[in-house]
Symmetry: C5
Subunit: 321 residues, 5 copies
Amino acid sequence: MLTYFRCADGKIEHPLEFKKELYLGAPEAFHWIDLEDPTAQETAILEDPFHFHPLAIEDCLSDVHHPKVDDYDQYIFIIVHGIRFDVPTDQFITRELDIFLGPNYLVTHHNGPMRSITSAREQCGKNLQAAMPRGTDFLIHQILDQLFEHYFPNLDSIEDKIQLIQVEVFESATKDTLDRIFALKRDVAQLRRICTPQREIVHRLARGEFKVISPKAAVYFRDIYDNLYRIVDASYAYQDMMQGTLDAYLNAVNNRLNETMKRMTVVTAVLACLTVITGIYGMNFEHMPELKWRYGYVWAMLLMVALPSALVLWMRRRGWI
Amino acid sequence: MLTYFRCADGKIEHPLEFKKELYLGAPEAFHWIDLEDPTAQETAILEDPFHFHPLAIEDCLSDVHHPKVDDYDQYIFIIVHGIRFDVPTDQFITRELDIFLGPNYLVTHHNGPMRSITSAREQCGKNLQAAMPRGTDFLIHQILDQLFEHYFPNLDSIEDKIQLIQVEVFESATKDTLDRIFALKRDVAQLRRICTPQREIVHRLARGEFKVISPKAAVYFRDIYDNLYRIVDASYAYQDMMQGTLDAYLNAVNNRLNETMKRMTVVTAVLACLTVITGIYGMNFEHMPELKWRYGYVWAMLLMVALPSALVLWMRRRGWI
Amino acid sequence: MLTYFRCADGKIEHPLEFKKELYLGAPEAFHWIDLEDPTAQETAILEDPFHFHPLAIEDCLSDVHHPKVDDYDQYIFIIVHGIRFDVPTDQFITRELDIFLGPNYLVTHHNGPMRSITSAREQCGKNLQAAMPRGTDFLIHQILDQLFEHYFPNLDSIEDKIQLIQVEVFESATKDTLDRIFALKRDVAQLRRICTPQREIVHRLARGEFKVISPKAAVYFRDIYDNLYRIVDASYAYQDMMQGTLDAYLNAVNNRLNETMKRMTVVTAVLACLTVITGIYGMNFEHMPELKWRYGYVWAMLLMVALPSALVLWMRRRGWI
Amino acid sequence: MLTYFRCADGKIEHPLEFKKELYLGAPEAFHWIDLEDPTAQETAILEDPFHFHPLAIEDCLSDVHHPKVDDYDQYIFIIVHGIRFDVPTDQFITRELDIFLGPNYLVTHHNGPMRSITSAREQCGKNLQAAMPRGTDFLIHQILDQLFEHYFPNLDSIEDKIQLIQVEVFESATKDTLDRIFALKRDVAQLRRICTPQREIVHRLARGEFKVISPKAAVYFRDIYDNLYRIVDASYAYQDMMQGTLDAYLNAVNNRLNETMKRMTVVTAVLACLTVITGIYGMNFEHMPELKWRYGYVWAMLLMVALPSALVLWMRRRGWI
Amino acid sequence: MLTYFRCADGKIEHPLEFKKELYLGAPEAFHWIDLEDPTAQETAILEDPFHFHPLAIEDCLSDVHHPKVDDYDQYIFIIVHGIRFDVPTDQFITRELDIFLGPNYLVTHHNGPMRSITSAREQCGKNLQAAMPRGTDFLIHQILDQLFEHYFPNLDSIEDKIQLIQVEVFESATKDTLDRIFALKRDVAQLRRICTPQREIVHRLARGEFKVISPKAAVYFRDIYDNLYRIVDASYAYQDMMQGTLDAYLNAVNNRLNETMKRMTVVTAVLACLTVITGIYGMNFEHMPELKWRYGYVWAMLLMVALPSALVLWMRRRGWI
């Protein structure tokens, strides 16, 4: 699907069909062509009239897997990643957004709808004077701003996950807990790997390194940079938290071993104590007064309650158990 | 609340109402406008007469969460963080201070009173010749100096906490100790994350990178840089100490397991030893002289005291327990 | 074996015998000489007519063991590594490809056939207009592109290995598991060590740092750079995964110890419990009614089933086992 | 205490009272003023006639806690640290030496006597032609050289400590060992933190970055740089050694647990073995020939020596204990 | 011992006595003076006629302990380290080689013979046209090439050591194994510390940073750089291997604990099982048919073989032991 906006004389023309004449006949206007799951026929416009570099077109139409910005002098080619944290499977799903930014045009490409693009498109569609972008560099700013703004709910999801697993570690760790800790650690590492290069890219955009972005617009990218700074910062903090969670888990396992040992001490000691008592009255001495007592048996039973209890109390007082 | 100081002819005028005329009519004077929990009406002055960049205004009025300095050529926009270590909850509470610094004006914004601002305001209010700031760059130096000076009591608090937990680890570790260690580790990591970028910012101020800060004033920022250097240095040292504390804790857990095992050895050995003695005199041999002794039973009892004692002594001599 | 291609007037001449006259007589043509396991006679052409630097020739003919690019002004000398993950022995086997790249010639040297060279040679051999390289810099791009493209199946192999070992750790760890984990960790580290410097080399080629690579061709190397970026990124991710696997393994060992301890608790407790019962009825009290019961023996046996069962149930209810 | 040396016409004048006239009247001479625990009156000379920057004076008179070099164009202000390893308390004690270095003067400030200053002062006092410093930059070189030379005995002390603790870990680790290991680790980390910035400072002095140090003198600072290089290198090596010591300690704890377990196995097995034998002859079968033997009891006793011994031998042969 | 070579008119003169006239009279010739364990008289030539910087002379004659290159404009002063891995003591022994390199002279100093110097000297001694160095920069290249070439056999020694210790860890770890692992780790870390700065030095030589090394000669140092690259790379790989070995060792200790626990389970269970049986037939019930059987005793003995065996089999089937 190809959506075409054209802005001339300060007015945005409603989505209309992209025709080469419309584009070529209006170098003073600016154009936004959004390619969403385009057909081969639609992608042909990348070659004509835009004449983008074959490599950039190839990168645009396939998945490159890492964010980047390439400067082709007349235009720049940007790849950024939208993310969605899929809660059921505990995985980050990344979506590539490919952007060609020229002095008077913006071409975006993505598979499936993207919220940042949709919201920018809607604003253009309404053709409101206030929301009207003042140039391609401002429009791209708006799209990227939206894109990275959508990272934050995902950060919240992952933070919830971390807190859940921390409670689980301290209260009811099961066999799967470690698995889930590792999965979450991997997610957090992935988040960091996704965001760090994008922060670098936005930093370059904000520094005014590319001539298609006017100094006036470049200032606005600092805003996005701040957001990415926070995201990367958060991902480092999450990493620390996950490391702490892992340490706590491993320590909990160790503590359980300790507990098991203590219980074993108690059970063994109590039973061995009973054995000693029965052993005593099982001795065959001729002169053992208890054996002839009427309530000798009861006496032995009482001993078998009293002595182990005393032993347990003694161990408890010494803090052994 | 908006507080307005105006310094002209080397005299500071008492807090007076901010009027556009007063500001515009005196470019040779210098002005300090402090916005504390300002109303929307008060914040309007950021747009007129100051005409700050919309992005900077937005950053100023909302929370940006990380310190930064943005250069807008005519003025710079600084965000720094005041910290307070909340002892009951064991958490660092950060407060943002937003600063616009121009050649002849200083605009500060914060929510709630800040000690560094209050003390600077008081000095200005007293209008003492000695305390009179000699320019906006000297005034901002004074404010930042105070702000970072207030970090030190917090460092002391955290150092006390670390020492308390170290004593706890070695003397009476409980279930919560590990939790508290992790919380403190997180605090220390947060302290480092807060201070490192601020040190960088002050370094840039001290280097005379911005033209609104005169070389003569820039020298003074070295002083603040030294303080931040010490703070960051301390936070690294704290991190080492906390890692050591964690290692000590985990080792203590291990040692306790060892102790538990040793006690178990002793208890088991003593009781098993008793069992053997009772077993011996429970054997049914026809020819067992002890069984017929008058004091055989007493003899057995004495054996049951003597042999385990000997066993324990032997184990102790060999250093087993 | 020496294979010689010559491209003049836009046509590639079929592999023909390399003669000095052919090369010297056509500075406007471009030449590709591929040396595969060359004889001493064949390698002599490096000295005459090419007059390469003696050091470069020495590096070319021996194994240098690390990738590099050396600039000799008139030409550059590149060493890159092809890899193959040998599944049976779990080892990366690297193969050196030595390349001399001049303005109108390309000399490649390798021991044994290399897939990237072979495929480039075949394309040249077909002399198809479409596949015809447009210059030595485009030809080298094609070769390197192929070379690094062949890394990906090896990445897949190693990823499979990692997944297999992860399943093994959680389900049926044996004595060899740790060995295999270490071997795989070593492989992953080696992969990173092989790829990181090569990424740097391709980065320099893409940056247009060398004059024998035209700016137009340099752009194409970005593509290869992206691939190497992905490979290095993957190798870091693998490293994290292997560290996680190692931690999981060590934890599994610890858990097994815990399990062993629990089982021991149960077995010991049950048997000790039985001993106590037999001990009780082995006591010699004159007044023990059970001893005279007709089914006293059966009663004792029943007790010896009931009590241990109750004990086990009790321990299970308390979550001890 | 203020000590004043003055060097004019290649002669050093004996310590004399500092008078403004003496200093101002001789710009062609060079002057060394050493302030040791100065009175307020004496420190006044920093303001007049030297007119140092107020910040530098403040830093000079108070403790700054980290080494630095500040360039004030006409002069540089250096803070370096002398160290002393206090063996009884196992702590590094640092002492600040504040230095103002101008084209024809050197002002040093310190609390309490410093060996490096004392030795330089003595040489000046002797007014020997050979030892006569050839300029302030050579004099400061001599002082710093002495200062860092005094680090080496402290390194030896710490190295001795490390070796002592390593022996202790392997031979007689007690409860305090871990404490001492942590203390030593902290010392080593502190040493590194003290020396790394000082190495940087000396590197800048040696690079001829400051105009008050002539290129001819700057070369001499390389010598000090080499010493600091060695010190930092050693502190890294110590850090590795301490990490190794900690690992060895933790492993020793683990091994002790293993030993404890083995001993427990032996004691338990031996006693359980005895119990079995007594149990056998405690059975009430009518037909048990041993019970009627004359020396049955002795036989049982012999069994109770022989069987456990056999068991222990068997376990030893299998390498269990 | 002082050896003097002089090369004039393309001919190397046989070792001859160094005379000031010979050197000063031939600025167009080039000179190599090798000082091996020189007398004070011989070292005097460093001052006259060479007039080297006093600091460089001091560094040359004493041990500096770290490699470096100092640029004195007219000449450079280089310190490099030869190594020898002393197999019996498991230690690297480093030897310093001090080099002064000027436009037409080379002065080397070392204590004791060095193989790299000896072989260069022999080649000069033979005065063969082919082996004749073409300048001091080529001569120094040859010496350094030899020096670092001699590192490789030492790498092999250390690699052998690592493999031996790995086998030892998995097959027959003793008390000393950990000691040896730590020693080897220390060696590997030392190797890295020795080689990394030397790689940097050679990198600077190869980059043509010093004017006494001609661009034509500088190219040759790339070769040495490649060797040092490999050595440093190997030392990192060794470090990984040693860390893996340490982890494996610690895990082996843990596994042994697990084994010990399992054996204890078996022994305890078997003996406790026997105790139960003897306990049963030691009960005093009036109606216990087995007690009156003729072969009751034998029956009990058979039970005491059968039941424990069954227990062991059951535990083995469940995978407990």
